[in-house]
């Protein structure tokens, strides 16, 4: 989902960048409050985890493979603000040092994946857990649903950006259908990987799972 240069016009990209900056600024404030001076080394290492985790190829079928996006996973493991920062840094480093994603599209990508994808995934996770009354399996089911939803939601966010300032002849509704459809499939993979990984961490270091210790206070 790394948008390249030229797909979305500059005014829309600039608007998304402004939104992304606001989200990142807010995350900086919240993460500092939660982690204090521990924030930098910890989130730095979480970024490494996300970046390295994205490189693991999961074989699907007939030689194809997919990989984790990691937004919802990071949010469940370390909280939405630390996760947003980690994913933003990953996207920035990918764009600037690995030529992944367009320079002018960085704001769009950060907004879709690090802010909208992470926060919506996490909100759904919280909601599911609350609905299931924090039962034993609620954490895992919440992770699955949150991770699943975060992917097509990020694709939806792209479709909206396309509708506002897309360069192309496809009708926005066509783009939306195509993006949403494919990302529903990708979301299934994301959900499975996320849930299994959260389960693996729960087995050895349950104390590290942020989402386990957080109860929804119904943030308006």
């Amino acid at each position: 989902m790394h948008i390249p240069d030229g797909f979305i016009n500059i005014p829309t990209a600039a608007g998304a960048a402004a939104l992304a900056l606001t989200g990142v600024g807010y995350s900086v404030k919240k993460a500092k409050g939660e982690l204090d001076e521990k924030a930098a080394p910890l989130i730095g290492l979480v970024s490494v985890f996300v970046f390295a985790g994205q490189m693991i190829n999961f074989p699907v079928a007939a030689g194809t493979s997919g990989h984790l996006l990691g937004g919802a996973l990071a949010a469940v493991l370390v909280g939405p603000y630390a996760a947003s920062l980690a994913l933003t840094v990953v996207l920035a480093i990918q764009a600037l040092l690995f030529a992944d994603g367009g320079l002018t599209a960085l704001g769009l990508n950060v907004f879709n994946m690090s802010i909208f994808g992470v926060w919506s995934g996490y909100a759904i996770f919280l909601l599911v857990r609350k609905t299931l009354r924090y039962s034993n399996s609620a954490l895992l089911i919440g992770s699955a649903v949150g991770a699943f939803a975060s992917v097509p939601l990020a694709a939806t966010s792209f479709s909206i950006q396309y509708a506002i300032g897309g360069e192309g002849t496809f009708a926005p509704s066509t783009v939306f259908t195509a993006m949403f459809g494919t990302h529903l499939l990708i979301g299934i993979g994301e959900a499975i990987i996320t849930t299994l990984t959260v389960g693996a961490v729960l087995k050895t270091r349950p104390d590290l799972v942020y989402g386990k210790n957080k109860r929804a206070k119904v943030t308006s």
């Binding site: 790394h2 948008i3 390249p4 240069d5 030229g6 797909f7 990209a13 990142v24 600024g25 900086v28 500092k32 001076e37 521990k38 924030a39 930098a40 080394p41 910890l42 989130i43 730095g44 290492l45 979480v46 970024s47 490494v48 985890f49 390295a52 985790g53 490189m55 693991i56 999961f58 074989p59 493991l77 370390v78 920062l85 980690a86 840094v89 990953v90 480093i93 764009a95 600037l96 040092l97 690995f98 030529a99 367009g102 320079l103 002018t104 360069e167 192309g168 496809f170 783009v175 195509a178 494919t182 499975i192 990987i193 299994l196 990984t197 693996a200 961490v201 087995k203 050895t204 270091r205």
Partner: protein, 239 residues
């Protein structure tokens, strides 16, 4: 080129791409100008273009959009062999591919000619929030360490006869991912303790920043400036 400060380069490339993205595709000679500028920079920077090109690709879904656009109905149509293509769609597809390719070329040169260190110093210079710069610094520092661990886990898996076969092997990968998270997190905690031991209290002594002379800025500005000239020429000559 290599010794331009990170942020000067970053801003120069960003400005270049903004100009590129703003140019209507119908002024095609302008794009020839852009490509020439890229080729010039590439030559000046003596980067191994081909090896770089391998890593830099446009992601699949977007490529598909661009390729399918000529087949969307509507507007004028023209025929190439058995294909009936929409003029408008073809232009739009060409627009996407051209700009994305220029963008990839741009990012490629930026990535290959910028050390992580000068990038970090550049972040500091453009007043990026300190927490953000620190996170990036830690990420760059520990990427190799964690990557090595991942390689070792892979070797350990495979030397015990593990072969990845479709989704049934996923639990093995996810337990690796889980272990990777725990190791990364614990590493973060240990690094934090090591920092505390040496008197850390939240502020990272500013990363040594490079000196930026006016010469650097002028060099950096040349890049988008040429693009701007190309843009303006195109506007005057082809409208």
């Amino acid at each position: 080129m290599h010794d331009l400060p990170g942020h000067v380069k970053l801003l120069a490339f960003l400005a270049f791409m903004v100009i590129v993205v703003c140019t209507p595709i119908t002024r095609w000679p302008t794009f020839v100008g852009y490509f020439l500028i890229i080729v010039l920079v590439l030559t000046l920077s003596k980067l191994p273009a081909l090896t770089l090109a391998k890593r830099a690709t446009i992601e699949f879904p977007f490529l598909i959009f661009a390729i399918l656009m000529p087949f969307t109905a509507g507007g004028d149509e023209f025929e190439i062999g058995p294909l009936e293509l929409s003029r408008e769609g073809s232009i739009a597809g060409l627009n996407l591919i051209t700009k994305a390719t220029l963008g990839v070329a741009c990012s490629m040169i930026l990535a290959a000619s910028t050390t992580s260190h000068s990038l970090l110093a550049g972040f500091v210079r453009i007043k990026t929030p300190s927490l953000f710069v620190q996170i990036a610094a830690f990420m760059i520092r520990y990427l190799n360490v964690i990557n090595d661990q991942m390689t070792r886990m892979k070797v350990a898996r495979e030397s015990r006869g593990f072969v990845a076969t479709g989704p049934r092997s996923w639990p093995i990968f996810t337990s690796t991912l889980g272990a990777l998270f725990i190791r990364s997190y614990e590493r973060g905690e240990r690094v934090h303790l090591a920092m505390l031991s040496r008197g850390y209290s939240g502020a990272l002594s500013s990363l040594a920043t490079e000196r930026v002379s006016r010469k650097h800025w002028i060099y950096g500005a040349l890049f988008p400036l040429f693009a701007l000239i190309s843009f303006l020429l195109g506007m005057v000559l082809f409208s």
